[in-house]
Symmetry: C2
Subunit: 338 residues, 2 copies
């Protein structure tokens, strides 16, 4: 599965920016892949890209229309269907982050068949995976892990990939969630895989690569989250990381959606090493990424200095505020310059 760019981002007529966060995420990280946006009358979201019709998009070489917005309930509104059919009729593929499968809607299925185009439902997956093997693959891997869900693991992995590339490392981002798949054009929403194949899918997501190539793998869940820890452990085993970055949100008191208290950063480091050694005995923590949005700038610097001091002087940074340079420095220290 490879979603071809350039993309046309379809926003429908959603009532606010939050409903278009998938599209906005794609623009944030892959603006050069995005030719324009298509908005229906009444749309209140805006990615800042040029508005563009489907035929204009086709003329500019767009390959895929990305349905990068969700309406209430996750359904596909009837009045979005004709835009999707038009895109297929103009020769574009269509990728969607909706819960509903595009192919389950007869008009869309027929248009795809009629035009020989592909439909990508990034919340689902159609790949067949092997079970995980646990054998060492060539290449180097970094995994984002977290004290909780939704603490910035995707952002951290994307920022790390960007910073590594800018420093001259060969690196690529490996997606394990739906928005990540649209950002990378490849990957799997790991939470939608059949349980027996979690680590096998993680191995597929981060396959054997050149020895000096770094795969920066988007994390999922937390080993300490009672709903999703199984996904996290399978991802850890399958991705066999050489290094991992712990992501943390300091104002969170209980795990997302449940009453379980947050673990400490040290607990996450210890359990990740303990479990990760099964498939990579050399696994180590290379840094801590904290969302300090709730703190003032001086306060944030003090907090990060304290976190670093408390964890053996591991680099601690806020990827949004202070960038990933400190963690790339750590990679250079441990594994050498590019």
């Amino acid at each position: 599965m490879k979603i071809e760019h350039p993309y046309l981002l379809f926003l429908g007529d959603v009532p606010d920016a939050l409903a278009a966060k998938t599209a906005i995420g794609v623009v944030d990280w892959r603006k050069d892949w995005c030719a324009g946006q298509l908005r229906l009358p009444g749309c209140a979201a805006d990615t800042g890209l040029a508005d563009m019709s489907i035929s204009e998009a086709r003329d500019k070489g767009v390959r895929t229309m990305v349905v990068g917005a969700v309406n209430a309930g996750g359904r596909l509104p009837d009045h979005w269907i004709s835009s999707i059919v038009d895109a297929l009729d103009e020769g574009l593929d269509v990728a969607s982050g909706l819960h509903v499968r595009l192919g389950s809607i007869p008009a869309i299925r027929e248009a795809a068949d009629r035009n020989g185009r592909q439909l990508f439902d990034v919340r689902h997956n159609s790949e067949t995976f092997a079970t995980g093997k646990g054998t060492k693959r060539t290449g180097k891997r970094i995994l984002a892990v977290g004290t909780d869900c939704s603490v910035g693991k995707k952002y951290t992995a994307l920022a790390m990939d960007k910073a590594m590339n800018e420093r001259g490392y060969q690196s690529s981002f490996c997606a394990t969630g739906q928005t990540g798949v649209l950002i990378s054009g490849r990957g799997v929403a790991l939470d939608a895989v059949i349980a027996d194949f979690i680590s096998g899918a993680a191995e597929w997501i981060s396959p054997e690569t050149a020895e000096d190539h770094w795969q920066i793998i988007e994390g999922q869940g937390s080993l300490f989250h009672p709903s999703f820890a199984g996904v996290t452990l399978g991802l850890l085993h399958g991705s066999q990381p050489d290094g991992f970055i712990v992501c943390h949100e300091p104002t969170r008191r209980t795990m997302r959606g449940v009453q379980t208290p947050l673990p400490t950063i040290q607990q996450v480091i210890d359990l990740t090493i303990q479990c990760g050694q099964l498939t990579n005995p050399a696994i180590q923590c290379i840094g801590i990424a904290v969302n300090t949005a709730a703190l003032g700038e001086d306060e944030a610097r003090d907090y990060l200095a304290k976190v670093s001091a408390e964890h053996g002087d591991l680099p601690a940074t806020d990827p949004v505020r202070f960038g990933m340079e400190a963690i790339v420095d750590k990679v250079a220290d441990i594994f050498g310059a590019p």
Copy 2:
């Protein structure tokens, strides 16, 4: 989902007993649920039950025909289909441990619809689960865990359930694998659940129950198996056991199907407690179940005495050879008499 008994066990025309091991497992543990067996000409397997036609079975009150055999490749041979259609036409439900879904075969689908009968594919699941909540439920729970896959976790859980009941405890077996589901008439093949819902499915499998009722939960995989540990961790979190039994096979050197060395029993105890405390802070190991089939009787006794001494005098037994009494004694010591 509840599979109604009595059962008629359908063995087809399989060439050996191994191909009928699902049926044999059901007879081993639920002989009183099994009215008879149906074998086609050439069948080389035998559960020891009376041979019985479908119409005889119907006359004896059989509710479900269980397809308890697999042919090479896991497919459903064309010449088995007419027996299944006959069973549905006689008013029986049909349950199957085959990979292929019964409902995917038009003749079977139509016969089920025509007769208003249910089809159960115990390797798959059609339940919709919530994500795991991690909140404490009433009742008591024991989970079988293992140093590897296929080390006797299902046998241990069934033997423990039987021994607890015989000692006067209120107890029930909770199935997490396909044969277990046929043995208990309820449950889920956990490895077939979507990854996001592993712990939620485990919560569904072992729901809130009376405070003095014990659920004895079939284990899956191993926290140290690089293919399946995610399933194991989700099951551990979702089943929130008060006690767990470590199952072990002493001749195994590498984990089943992979090159990873086996963990020690102590490693399994430590990691199970460490992870299990997330949803039950009082989790503890209550015993060790060893498959000593490769050892002579004296040798087996010596080995078990050594294992017990090495693990703080936890009871160590071979469930097949020496029964589960020692571990039930431990339950009585810790949690009190029934």
